[in-house]
């Protein structure tokens, strides 16, 4: 890739103000996404992946705030933009789809209007033109009978259809980056396949980059070219997706890959006891010192309990943060 990356996050820190003190809910988060690239951010609840996405589109609200670091979109610092400048980016250049379309859509507005709004606000179209474009948008996300469906309210649509509407809204203005935060977690597996393929194909056609956020490492590895794994507010490993399942480097990633029953593994290997990751996910207010995975890590030594590991570049590309990585 040449030139300026589409989006560049450098040493981002997100603070959580719990009234008496500030704790870092995410820190040292750095990654870049090039134009048209698919990048995945994987982690468990509370690891900081969703708030990182919200920071990218300037939607962090109290008690969360950016505590440090830089986010650049096409080389411009997002935090330095005026509110109007941020609004111009949001929706128009960077769009987002959420996990639960029923709560993300406006329940008292027909879906066609919610799509048309994008053209009126960002492209200066009249409502008449925008309504026509909304029908085309619905057709492009393969909603049957779009000219009738534009008049439906969200509750009249199935979960899969609602998520299609979300995608239509997000892609309405032809954004450069689509952030998909657990876009299929609320959906059944066959519907998930439909939505993922739709998103993947539309973005590939239009050259839209995808930042996909999920707890499902398998899904992200399948969809994205590069994957970053977050644990307790830090990125612990970033790799090409082909490598992350075959040769995970960080003990946490290894644990995730080993602990989940994968389709076909019992037929091949018999029923073996699943490898467990000991312990529990730490709370944001009680992240351990040193490497944050150390209380759950079988390989932990004294240095892991005192010093946070630096970023180690891997020969095969990507990096890992571990004192004893493979």
């Amino acid at each position: 890739m040449t030139g300026v990356p589409l989006i560049e996050v450098e040493n981002l820190r997100i603070d959580l103000d719990d009234g008496s003190r500030r704790v870092a809910a995410a820190e040292g988060v750095s990654f870049r996404i090039s134009r048209g690239e698919t990048f995945g951010l994987v982690g468990e609840s509370g690891c900081g992946k969703s708030i990182t996405a919200l920071a990218l589109i300037g939607l962090l609200r109290s008690p969360l705030s950016i505590g440090g670091g830089v986010i650049r979109f096409e080389g411009r610092e997002i935090q330095r933009l005026s509110a109007a400048g941020q609004r111009e980016l949001r929706g128009n250049r960077i769009a987002m789809i959420f996990q639960e379309p029923m709560t993300a859509l406006n329940p008292v507005s027909p879906v066609g209007r919610q799509i048309a709004e994008m053209f009126v606000l960002h492209k200066g179209k009249s409502w008449r033109e925008a309504n026509q474009l909304a029908v085309e948008s619905l057709a492009s996300v393969r909603v049957p009978a779009p000219e009738r469906r534009v008049n439906d309210y969200p509750h009249q649509l199935s979960g899969g259809m609602r998520q299609r509407v979300m995608i239509a809204i997000a892609l309405a203005c032809g954004p450069d980056l689509l952030i998909a935060d657990e876009p299929t977690t609320a959906l059944d597996v066959t519907v998930q396949a439909e939505i993922i393929e739709l998103m993947r194909n539309l973005c590939a056609e239009r050259g839209t980059a995808i930042l996909m956020i999920s707890h499902d490492l398998g899904l992200v590895a399948n969809v994205c070219r590069r994957v970053a794994v977050m644990y307790a507010g830090r990125i612990v490993e970033e790799r090409g997706s082909a490598d992350i399942f075959r040769a995970p480097s960080h003990p946490y990633t290894q644990g995730l890959v080993d602990s989940l029953p994968r389709l076909g593994s019992r037929a091949a290997l018999g029923r073996v006891r699943l490898k467990e990751i000991a312990g529990v996910v730490p709370a944001i207010t009680g992240f351990p010192d040193g490497c944050r995975f150390n209380p759950r890590c079988a390989q932990a030594t004294d240095i892991c309990r005192t010093a946070a590991p630096e970023t180690d570049l891997l020969e095969a590309g990507g990096f890992v943060r571990c004192h004893h990585h493979a």
């Binding site: 468990e44 519907v191 398998g218 399942f245 995730l256 037929a267 529990v280």
Partner: protein, 346 residues
């Protein structure tokens, strides 16, 4: 852990015969046609002692309705449920209900929502014992302590409240509550899908251990086919209120015969390959207005005229015990076999 051997004494602990649960919806008052939601429509299931039966299907397919009926919490419109030789009867004497509760229990999906936040763990585990006639203080204390150890908690944690525990520990409490009355059958309704990914293996291992040490039988409801494959001895696949395929776990996962089962398995993303997911097309049909003939026909790539005509296909059991509800499964199997030999892979 070892692969369970087929048991010579094929004694059934649970038999579900022609179960139907219909919910009337609105209408009916002024002569308007009463609409009927057929959540479950003619389901046959059996569960052997010590077996884990996986029950899979998309939301709305009727899995949880079957579970609630077996627990005696829903009144079936039609059919019989026989648990350990006794027919499940709803709205009946409390003695029957109690006997059923001592035999069948459930572990719920969300351990945050399914535990009473104002009760200590001890209270949560003691109440069922008292209701079921265990009055001796020392026995109650013993059984609570033993059960906590079984699920990997310490007896001294009994006086804490649910909020003092992590998600995985809460699910251990949920499992302890299900097991405190020494049931024979445990219905696990998505027991790990609300848990953090790094915690799931702990709970799956625990459930399998408890099944062996306590001689339990499981009905495992899940949409995670990896988990179902790992845990189940047999698998039943539901679609729109009916069983469409039922068989040995290996048969189901290696030679799925129903196009819907094939679609479910093909839709699982392969983490090692950057390849498009197999799509089925369309959503689950509206159960108020099910399609003619085979309920899967509008989404099925193999559907022909016969699939769209009434009556729909019946569940046919092959000699090896593998049952399929599809007019064309033989033909499709032949075609798939041909395709796989030609291309060298599926």
């Amino acid at each position: 852990m070892h692969e369970p051997q087929p048991r010579p004494d094929d004694d059934l602990i649970l038999r579900v015969e022609d179960l139907a649960v219909h919910f009337p919806l609105g209408g009916g008052l002024f002569g308007r046609e009463r609409r009927l939601l057929r959540a479950v429509d003619g389901v046959d299931l059996s569960l052997r002692r010590g077996e884990c039966l996986g029950l899979v299907g998309e939301s709305g397919s009727g899995k949880s309705t079957v579970a609630l009926s077996i627990l005696g919490l829903l009144k079936p419109t039609r059919g019989h449920i026989v648990v350990d030789g006794r027919e499940v009867v709803t709205n009946s004497r409390s003695a029957d209900r109690k006997a059923l509760a001592r035999t069948v229990q459930i572990v719920f999906q969300d351990p945050y929502a399914s535990l009473n936040p104002r009760q200590t763990v001890r209270r949560t585990l003691e109440d069922p014992l008292r209701v079921h006639g265990v009055t001796a203080k020392s026995e109650i204390e013993d059984r609570v302590a033993t059960m906590l150890k079984h699920v990997g908690l310490r007896p001294e944690q009994a006086d804490r409240f649910p909020h003092e525990f992590s998600g995985g520990q809460r699910q251990r409490i949920g499992i302890a509550r299900a097991l405190i009355l020494n049931p024979r059958i445990v219905i696990c309704d998505e027991p790990v899908s609300a848990l953090d990914v790094s915690i799931r293996a702990q709970i799956i291992n625990l459930l399998l251990e408890l099944k062996d040490t306590l001689g339990l039988s499981y009905i495992m409801i899940s949409h995670d086919l990896g988990v179902v494959e790992h845990m189940s001895d047999r698998v039943a696949v539901m679609y729109l209120g009916r069983i469409v395929e039922n068989g040995d776990w290996r048969e189901i996962f290696e030679r799925p015969a129903h196009p819907y089962t094939q679609a479910l398995i093909a839709a699982i993303p392969d983490p090692l390959r950057h390849a498009p997911l197999a799509t089925t097309g369309g959503d689950l049909p509206n159960p108020l207005n099910p399609p003619n003939g085979c309920a899967f026909s509008p989404r099925c790539r193999y559907a022909e005229a016969v699939c769209r005509s009434e009556p729909g296909p019946v569940l046919e059991t092959r000699p090896d015990g593998h049952a399929v509800r599809c007019w064309r499964s033989e033909e499709i199997a032949g075609r798939r076999a041909l395709a796989s030999t030609e291309s060298g892979s599926l």
